[in-house]
């Protein structure tokens, strides 16, 4: 019997994993966090996700068509959708559609496709889009709505959609009521003004036992999703572990020096976007370090930078900048953290090659 005259190359095995399945699992792991987010802060985040996903797929499809790449199969890899969702999660709950559109389109077209698409972008697209928005529209990007239990009035899903698309607030709500600072912001500003933390925490009802109302449970939910990814071995443990450990260490040191001036380590771990960043953003394999030791360094670098930016910077959170700065350093880290190859004694794997 004759078989295919084309040479097939080993290994001859069925597919084990696939990019689409990986992305899908990451999205599934985000669900608990998103649900808790909605429970504590209302439907806004869902509106963000829907709009951001739409713009992400649209932008990716458009560029793929222009670049004459297969549109449908590439969209199926899920990477554009994931970028959209992650960016949506970084935005304040009630963000105007055009802000979302600018951020997502920048993320997909400039930060990803112009570099060659999936796998070739040096910077995390979602975080690049977020930073562009933060710098371009600081006002819109710092309007955080209060947790539902502190709000006098909240928006229904439909009202949230209408607000995002038309800027029309439902009766009884005004802009001030959905323009609050985050707990991290409040703590930093008040400490700078000379207040001590225990006074700040008792004065502002947004603080809770651990960090902020709602945010602590959102972080717990993202942590759970992240642990599930770890358990399924879909992400490497090194980046989240070293990131959280680095944050814990540096915030612990400062907290021990002066607990009235520096937020506690637990506050930092469960505030802002810590867990989302540790398990879902810094772990983006395309833009992180690739070597095992490099990933430890990369994660630790992210953790330290998040703490530094949160404590002494001027932004609501430090995850985006920290991740982008470490993206910048990833090639260098990789270069200096190559593993020792089996059969070599010295760490540089240097030996004359003989074929």
């Amino acid at each position: 019997m004759e078989f295919s005259q084309q040479q097939h190359y080993s290994p001859h095995t069925p597919a084990q994993a696939s990019v689409s399945r990986l992305m899908l699992n990451v999205m599934l792991a985000l669900i608990p966090g998103i649900v808790v987010y909605i429970i504590y802060f209302g439907w806004g985040v869902l509106v963000n996700i829907v709009l951001a996903s739409f713009f992400a797929l649209l932008a990716e499809g458009l560029v793929l068509a222009i670049r004459q790449r297969p549109v449908y199969t590439t969209l199926l890899d899920g990477s554009a959708l994931l970028t959209g969702i992650l960016l949506a999660l970084a935005l304040p709950s009630h963000t105007a559609w055009w802000v979302i559109a600018v951020g997502v389109i920048f993320a997909i077209i400039i930060a990803k496709q112009l570099y060659g698409g999936l796998g070739l972008n040096p910077f995390n697209p979602a975080m690049t889009g977020y930073v562009v928005l933060l710098i371009s529209f600081p006002l819109e990007m710092t309007r955080w709505n209060p947790p539902l239990e502190l709000a006098e009035q909240s928006m229904s899903l439909l009202e949230a959609f209408r607000y995002s698309l038309s800027g029309h607030l439902p009766a009884g709500l005004d802009l001030d009521m959905i323009s609050l600072a985050t707990p991290i912001d409040i703590a930093r500003e008040r400490v700078d003004m000379g207040m001590n933390l225990s006074a700040i925490r008792s004065e502002y009802s947004i603080f809770s036992n651990l960090s902020g109302i709602g945010t602590e449970w959102i972080n717990v939910a993202f942590l759970a999703g992240g642990l599930w990814l770890l358990f399924r071995r879909l992400i490497d443990w090194r980046i989240p572990a070293s990131l959280l450990l680095a944050m814990l260490t540096i915030s612990g040191i400062f907290w021990l020096i002066n607990p009235e001036q520096y937020l506690s380590p637990l506050f930092h771990l469960f505030a802002g976007a810590t867990m989302l960043g540790a398990f879902f953003i810094a772990t983006d394999p395309v833009t992180a370090s690739t070597t095992p030791v490099g990933r430890l360094i990369f994660g630790a670098g992210c953790g330290l930078l998040i703490y530094i930016i949160r404590s002494w910077g001027g932004y609501p959170d430090g995850v985006a900048f920290a991740v982008l700065l470490m993206n910048l350093s990833a090639p260098l880290i990789d270069h200096f953290s190559q593993p020792r190859i089996t059969g070599y004694k010295n760490p540089n794997n240097q030996k004359e090659h003989k074929p």
Binding site: M1, E2, F3, S4, Q5, Q7, H8, Y9, S10, P11, H12, T13, P14, A15, Q16, A17, S18, V19, R21, L22, D77, S79, G117, L118, G119, L120, D236, P285, V286, A288, T290, T291, P292, R295, D334, Q338, P339, R340, I341, T342, G343, Y344, K345, N349, K351, H353, K354, P355
Partner: protein, 507 residues
């Protein structure tokens, strides 16, 4: 037993070995035609020493060798040589190869076989020569001439390791050999141990072969030099360097051999072949091959003569299933595809795997690399496959070498786990061949340059020599001129004298 060591990376793969171990080894008969390739291993091919129409006996040498890395080829059965021609070979290149075609006479008549003296009386070098003359190569799949591996070249060999790991899925020929013919392996081990003057022998077997372990253990109990060790099931633990790591915890140096650690590794089937060659005067003319996969109806192990067309084995295994679409010699991880089942069994054929579309990625589903690093995790050599992939793609040969491409053992783990389905190993083979090509070119251009330089030097030398010659000649001519002048002067003087005398006479 000491706790086994581990090597980095590797994969736990579905074994699929049970499907072919249910029935005992079947002895295939003599086929209608035998197609015996003259080139069956690394190194130089054998040279045909029979002619068309010649009658050959079973075990008669039909291909002889002169180069060092080479072993002879023998007639698997008695019969007539009907042709010597090019035939597609069971080799990755698929290039045709010289094949001796024998029409068996059915008598299976042996050449003369002389019984040997006690092998322990023989000199190791004599033993090695006999093993070479029997055409024995490694039967694990790589087919490297065994006599070379049995030469300790100045090392004091502490341990001879017999590799019965058989870590690749589907393959079970070594398993069945160990179950059914353990004495052959142990007798072979005795001979190999003597040839190497080795201290002890370890037979390493993956834990998923309890029958094989028991059958060998039963014979090993009385032998103090022999250890049967079961090792964890993880691919590629049967790789030579990985096996050494598992058994001893030591790393074989890059570009080195287990010999550097005073160890030698051979396959269990090779040991059995050595036993047959020396104790029964039977050269390597047959081997056990696993015919398996979802593409054959009744997978099993078959002992076949070298040169038997693969199609005969398929028939013995119940024939193809309807959707068989890929024929592979070797296992799924490292095997090569064959274009036709007319390809003959060679010494390296450990498995004939027939797949159906569900067994492999059929259409091109390759996506871009997302640097997930799964390949880094599974690499048993701790390479960075994704970096190597980028450099292969961009043909950056220098970086490929500084990232130690040549330490890649092509086990295929990285390709299997790649979520983007990138055929990584194929990129690495390509990178290696590009580097070899470039090195050949460098050697060629170096030679050309040397030749040109030599030519220029030669021309200069010739020119200089000519010049010197001219100068010498010119000098000679000049000297000649002086002499002429002297002679002329003398003649003139004489003339003058004469004239004077005459004048005197006249006066």
């Amino acid at each position: 037993m000491a706790r086994p060591h581990t090597f980095p990376g590797g994969l736990k793969l579905e074994g699929h070995k049970d499907i072919s171990t249910g029935q005992p080894i079947l002895k295939a008969g003599i086929p209608e035609r035998l197609f015996v390739p003259l080139n069956q291993h690394i190194g130089s091919p054998a040279e045909c020493v029979v002619e068309k129409g010649e009658h050959v006996l079973k075990g008669q040498m039909i291909g002889s060798v002169t180069d060092y890395v080479a072993v002879p080829v023998h007639a698997p059965s008695s019969g007539t040589v009907i042709d010597i021609q090019k035939f597609p070979a069971a080799h990755a290149s698929g290039l045709p190869n010289d094949v001796v075609i024998i029409e068996p006479d059915g008598k299976d008549e042996w050449r003369e076989r002389k019984p040997l003296p006690d092998i322990t009386e023989l000199d190791p070098s004599e033993l090695r020569n006999m093993i070479r003359c029997a055409g024995i190569v490694g039967l694990g799949g790589a087919a490297f001439p065994t006599f070379i591996k049995l030469n300790p070249v100045g090392h004091k060999i502490s341990t001879l390791i017999l590799n019965g790991a058989e870590c690749e899925p589907y393959i079970s020929c070594d398993d069945m050999l160990m179950r059914e013919r353990p004495h052959e392996i142990i007798d072979g081990a005795k001979i190999m141990r003597h040839a190497l003057n080795a201290g002890k022998v370890i037979i390493a077997i993956e834990e998923n072969k309890p029958e094989a372990i028991d059958s060998l253990q039963a014979l090993a109990d009385d032998l103090d030099w022999l250890d049967i060790q079961s090792i964890p099931v993880i691919y590629p633990t049967g790789g030579e360097k990985q096996l050494v790591k598992v058994l001893t915890g030591k790393d074989v140096p890059s570009q080195g051999l287990p010999l550097d650690l005073d160890l030698v590794v051979n396959n269990v089937a090779t040991a059995a072949a050595v036993h047959l060659a020396l104790d029964h005067q039977q050269p390597l003319i047959s081997r056990i091959i696993t015919v398996t996969g979802s593409g054959v109806r009744s997978p099993r192990n078959i002992e076949a003569l070298i040169g038997t067309p693969m199609s005969d084995l398929i028939d013995l295994a119940g024939g193809y299933t309807e959707n068989a679409d890929r024929l592979i010699m070797g296992g799924p991880m490292m095997g090569i595809t064959l274009k036709t089942d007319a390809t003959p069994v060679v010494k390296a054929s450990n498995c004939l795997l027939v797949q159906t579309p569900a067994d492999h990625i059929t259409e091109a589903t390759t996506r871009p690399c997302i640097r997930c690093g799964e390949c880094v995790k599974v690499c048993p050599v701790k390479l960075l496959p994704q970096q190597l992939y980028w450099f292969s793609q961009s043909k950056n040969l220098e970086e490929l070498q500084t990232h130690n491409l040549f330490d890649c053992i092509e086990c295929g783990c990285c390709s299997v786990v790649c979520p983007s389905h990138i055929p990584l190993v194929q990129y690495f083979r390509y990178g290696k061949s590009e580097i070899w090509k470039k090195e050949q070119e460098t050697i060629k251009s170096d030679r050309a340059r040397e030749r040109t330089e030599a030519r220029i030097k030669r021309l200069e030398r010739v020119k200089a020599e000519k010049k010197a010659l001219h100068a010498a000649r010119a000098k000679k001519t000049a000297a000649g001129n002086d002499r002429k002048k002297e002679i002329e002067a003398a003649v003139a003087r004489a003339k003058a004298k004469k004239t004077e005398g005459t004048e005197n006479l006249d006066t």
